[in-house]
C-alpha cells in the first residue's frame, strides 16, 4: 500500500512527479485508466485528469477534485493515492467494480498547478492561483471563490490582496474555467467532490446562503454515512453539515456551482487534521488520511451508483 516501484505514496511530491505517476497509472491499466488533458494553467502548465472507465458512451460520471488550494498538500497526496486505489481495487473489491460498471470517475489531483509549484519553490503557504491582477501588486485569485455561484457574494473579497479574492469575474481563472468547460461539455456528471484541508469536515451546499438546499436531507444522510465509514478505520471524527452553517459563508465555491448546475451529489471534504499541524500535516499521516478518506469517498460513490437520478 505504501509504494510501488517508482512512487512512494507516503510522501509529498512535486507536480512533475505526480503527473508522471498519473501517466504510470494510465500505462499500467490501459483498459481502465487514461490521462486526459483538460486545459492549461495561467502559467501554461497542463491540467491533467485521470479518467477511470470500463467503457460506454458518456456514462454518468463522478468528478473528484483536489488541490484547488495549493498549500493543502494532503489533498493532492490523498488524490493520487486514491487513483492507485481505484485501479488496484477494480476487479478485487466488489464495490469498486460495481461502481465502475455503472459510472465513470474523473480525478483531478492538482486543480491549481501553478500554486502547487509555487508552494514548492517560493512559498509553502501559498493558497491562490498565480494569475496577475492588473493595477495591483498582489498576485492570485482564490479559485474556490471564482465559480459562478453567487459570485462575489458573502465570504469572498474584492481586494486582490485578500486570500479569498474572488477574481474580476466568475471563471476568470483558467483553472476554474477548464473544469467548468469540461464538465459542461460532458453533460452527465452526477457527483462532484472537492478535497481540501484542514478541519475534518464533510460539507454540502450551500456555502453562499444559510437557506437549505432542496436535497439537504439526502445529502446530510449520505454525508453522515460517509463520515461514519471514514471514522470506522481509526476513529477520526468529522463534523457534517452545509458549508455556510458549518464553517462560514463562502460564495463562488466549486460545490455550490456544481449543485446549482444539476450535479446533486456535491460534497467538500476538509481532511486532517484539526489544527495541530494545519496545512503542514506530516507525511506519515498521508496514508492513514487517504485510507480513511477512501472509505468516505466509496460510501458516497456507492450511493451515487444506486441513485442515478
Amino acid at each position: 500500500e505504501r509504494s510501488n516501484n517508482t512512487f512512494n505514496y507516503g510522501a509529498y511530491h512535486t507536480l512533475e512527479t505526480i503527473y508522471q505517476e498519473m501517466d504510470n497509472i494510465a500505462t499500467d491499466f490501459p483498459d481502465l485508466a487514461s490521462r486526459v488533458k483538460i486545459g492549461q494553467s495561467f502559467e501554461n502548465r497542463p491540467m491533467y485528469v485521470l479518467k477511470f472507465s470500463t467503457g460506454g458512451e458518456q456514462r454518468p460520471a463522478i468528478w473528484l477534485n483536489a488541490g484547488i488550494h495549493s498549500r493543502e498538500w494532503i489533498s493532492q497526496a490523498t488524490a493520487i493515492w486514491t487513483a492507485r486505489k481505484i485501479v488496484s481495487d477494480y476487479g478485487e473489491d466488489p464495490a469498486v467494480t460495481s461502481i465502475l460498471e455503472k459510472v465513470d470517475i474523473f480525478l483531478l489531483p492538482v486543480a491549481n498547478p501553478d500554486g502547487y509549484v509555487y508552494t514548492h519553490t517560493q512559498n509553502r503557504l501559498w493558497r491562490k492561483t498565480r494569475s496577475l491582477n492588473p493595477g495591483s501588486r498582489c498576485v492570485g485569485t482564490d479559485p474556490n471563490r471564482n465559480w459562478n455561484a453567487s459570485f462575489a457574494g458573502e465570504g469572498a473579497s474584492d481586494n486582490p490582496c485578500s486570500e479569498v479574492y474572488h477574481g474580476p469575474h466568475a471563471n476568470s481563472e483558467v483553472e476554474v474555467k477548464s473544469v467548468v468547460d469540461f464538465i459542461q461539455k460532458h453533460g452527465n456528471f452526477r457527483c462532484f467532490i472537492d478535497l481540501h484541508s484542514y478541519s475534518q469536515l464533510l460539507m454540502y451546499p450551500y456555502g453562499y446562503t444559510v437557506k437549505k438546499a432542496p436535497d439537504a436531507e439526502e445529502l446530510d444522510d449520505v454525508a453522515r454515512h460517509a463520515a461514519a465509514a471514514l471514522a470506522s478505520l481509526s476513529g477520526t471524527k468529522y463534523q457534517v453539515g452545509p458549508t455556510c452553517t458549518t464553517v462560514y459563508p463562502a460564495s463562488g465555491s466549486s460545490i455550490d456551482w456544481a449543485y446549482d448546475n444539476g450535479i446533486k451529489y456535491a460534497f467538500t471534504f476538509e481532511l486532517r487534521d484539526t489544527g495541530h499541524y494545519g496545512f503542514l500535516l506530516p507525511a506519515n499521516q498521508i496514508i492513514p488520511t487517504a485510507e480513511e478518506t477512501w472509505l468516505g469517498l466509496k460510501t458516497i460513490m456507492e450511493h451515487v451508483r444506486d441513485n442515478l437520478y
Binding site: Y12, E163, V247, L280
Partner: protein, 94 residues
C-alpha cells in the same frame, strides 16, 4: 523559498459576535502581515492565524487588550517546514 523563522500560528477562540467584530479589526489590519488559515465566523469556531515573528508582541497585546483568548498551536513554523523538506529530499534520494 520564503522562510518563516520565529513565526507562530495562534489559535484564537471566538465565542460570540462581539469577539468576531474585535477579530475583524485584526483581519482588516495590514500592519501585522497576518495570514489567516481559517476565517472568523460567528459559529464559535476557533480561528487559526499565522503571525510573523515581527508581529508577535503587537498581536499578543492586541488580543490581550480585546480580551480574546488564544493559544500557540505551532510555535516554530520553520522547524516544521524544515522537517517537511528533509523528508521530501530523503524520499527523492530513496
Amino acid at each position: 523559498r520564503e522562510k518563516f523563522f520565529g513565526d507562530q500560528v495562534f489559535r484564537i477562540n471566538v465565542r460570540n459576535g462581539d469577539e468576531v467584530s474585535k477579530l475583524t479589526q485584526l483581519v482588516n489590519s495590514d500592519n501585522f502581515k497576518l495570514n489567516f488559515w481559517s476565517s472568523p465566523s460567528t459559529l464559535g469556531r476557533p480561528v487559526d492565524v499565522l503571525v510573523p515573528s515581527i508581529s508577535l508582541q503587537p498581536v499578543k497585546s492586541f488580543l490581550k487588550s480585546q480580551g480574546l483568548e488564544y493559544s500557540v498551536t505551532i510555535d516554530d513554523l520553520q522547524a516544521l517546514l524544515d522537517n517537511e523538506d528533509e523528508e521530501m529530499q530523503y524520499n527523492e534520494g530513496q
